[in-house]
């Protein structure tokens, strides 16, 4: 319960930072995707079910504010969280390479799917342009930001695990 609450607060913090602070630090109009970072890392630390919910709510938040219709981001991020959750079995807190790689891959795939659904289907066929001007820059920026943000999420998460397990021991 407390874990869920902490994740919820983390999602809201990420969303607020992404929409208000990072727009001041955008490079060429590109902002990093913090919602992908929180979704992928939560999924990896907690398993597919937590990832699924995190992705769903993170996406829903983005949809409510900036979507033309609700749930398009929610559905993409939800599947992303679910698939990243499978890597929970090979997740070790010391290993930074796998989570960061997974975050980058997730960001690329979500960008690509969004392009297909929202642009390709409206006959915007110049895939190369959108790749080089939106998807790849966002991927790079997100990866760089993830190097700094991921340790913070990991820290909060391990701290939370410690508090919860301590509480459980006291209860026994």
């Amino acid at each position: 319960m407390r874990k869920t609450l902490v994740t919820f607060v983390l999602i809201i913090i990420c969303f607020i930072f992404q929409s208000s602070v990072f727009s001041y630090f955008s490079f060429g109009g590109i902002v990093p995707n913090l919602l992908i970072i929180i979704t992928a890392s939560t999924a990896m630390m907690r398993g597919e079910k937590a990832g699924l919910f995190t992705g769903f709510f993170a996406g829903l938040l983005a949809d409510i504010f900036f979507g033309d219709f609700i749930c398009i981001y929610a559905i993409i991020y939800m599947y992303e969280g679910y698939i990243c959750g499978f890597f929970h079995r090979v997740f070790f807190p010391d290993n930074y390479i796998l989570p960061l790689a997974l975050i980058s891959i997730s960001d690329f795939i979500s960008g690509f799917i969004y392009y297909i659904l929202m642009f390709l289907l409206r006959a915007r066929f110049d895939m190369g342009h959108y790749m080089t001007h939106v998807i790849i820059p966002e991927l790079i920026y997100t990866s760089v930001v993830a190097v700094f943000v991921y340790p913070i999420i990991l820290f909060v998460n391990t701290k939370m695990d410690m508090i919860v397990s301590k509480g459980a021991r006291k209860f026994v």
């Binding site: 699924l52 504010f65 033309d68 966002e138």
Partner: protein
């Protein structure tokens, strides 16, 4: 084994794949519902107003403060150079100002004479701050810090720096979402100011990387429209008030059908450095096409 009950049989839990399936159905249902009706806009607006907007307001202020401070030091040296140049300019401008004041007096008189006060300088406006921008990199939508509590409404026009920014597409008690004219999925009915020819301005992410957006369906058989012409919102648009500057034409090409022309125009507003905008609080009046049944 029943998948809903786990091994011990005492704790109720649903496997992830069933959850995923259920939420997918819910999402698709929501997509269809929001595409066809606007059932959820009120609910979503209230939720967002409670959870997120107050924080965004605060953080946005803090963010702009930090950026201001950072720029403050960087600008110090350039400011000194600029100061010298500006002093010169002030002298020139003083002279020009005197001349223009005379022109202005004349213009005011003429306006009164022709009753041209219907121009958009006379619309009642209210200022608003941008507190959040689109989290994705695909569309240029943003959120401003005023909503229904301040008397705003959906479809009110947004201007900044004398040009059209966009219009309000969804709204909550203390915030409203603005869809800008450069967004890839937005078209604006406009006209060329000096010839009165109608055209459709469409936002385009691809060409906006070069600072322009596209227009199409311009009927101009006698080649009266030329590069540099002003494009304003048209009289026949049902969302935008007439006569608001959209941009300047930068290129024109004849379409392959030889009837219409298309090309690009430069928006009048600098969308990259937008911080404060003006909301025109009067809306375009439209004739209600739904006639009462009884």
């Amino acid at each position: 084994m029943n998948p809903v009950i786990n091994k011990r049989g005492d704790k109720f839990s649903i496997p992830g794949k069933y959850l995923l399936f259920a939420l997918t159905i819910v999402s698709i249902a929501l997509i269809v519902i929001t595409l066809t009706t606007n059932l959820f806009s009120g609910v979503a607006g209230t939720v967002a107003g409670v959870f997120v907007v107050p924080f965004q307001k605060g953080i946005s202020t803090a963010g702009s403060y930090v950026k201001d401070k950072a720029e403050y030091f960087a600008d110090m040296s350039t400011l000194r150079e600029e100061n010298g140049v500006l002093r010169q300019q002030v002298e020139e401008l003083k002279e020009e100002n005197a001349r223009l004041t005379q022109d202005k007096y004349e213009l005011d008189n003429l306006r009164d004479l022709y009753e041209l006060d219907k121009e958009y300088s006379s619309y009642s406006k209210t200022g608003a701050r941008i507190i959040a921008r689109d989290t994705g990199n695909w569309y240029s939508n943003f959120v401003i810090d005023k909503g229904t509590d301040d008397g705003l409404d959906i479809d009110m026009n947004i201007i900044a720096g004398g040009g059209l920014v966009g219009r309000i597409t969804s709204i909550g008690p203390g915030w409203s979402k603005v869809t800008s004219v450069i967004s890839d999925n937005i078209s604006t009915s406009s006209m060329v100011l000096n010839t009165g020819d109608n055209l459709i301005v469409t936002g385009d992410l691809e060409s906006y990387s070069e600072g322009v957006i596209t227009f199409s369906k311009l009927q101009d058989d006698i080649d009266a429209v030329s590069i540099g012409d002003k494009v304003v919102t048209s009289n026949i648009s049902d969302k935008y008030l007439p006569g608001i500057l959209v941009g300047y034409i930068t290129s024109i090409e004849a379409d392959s059908n030889n009837l219409t022309k298309s090309g690009t125009l430069t928006p009048a507003v600098d969308f990259e450095h937008l911080d404060e905008v003006l909301v025109i609080t009067s809306k375009k009046q439209v004739i209600n096409s739904e006639t009462p049944d009884d």
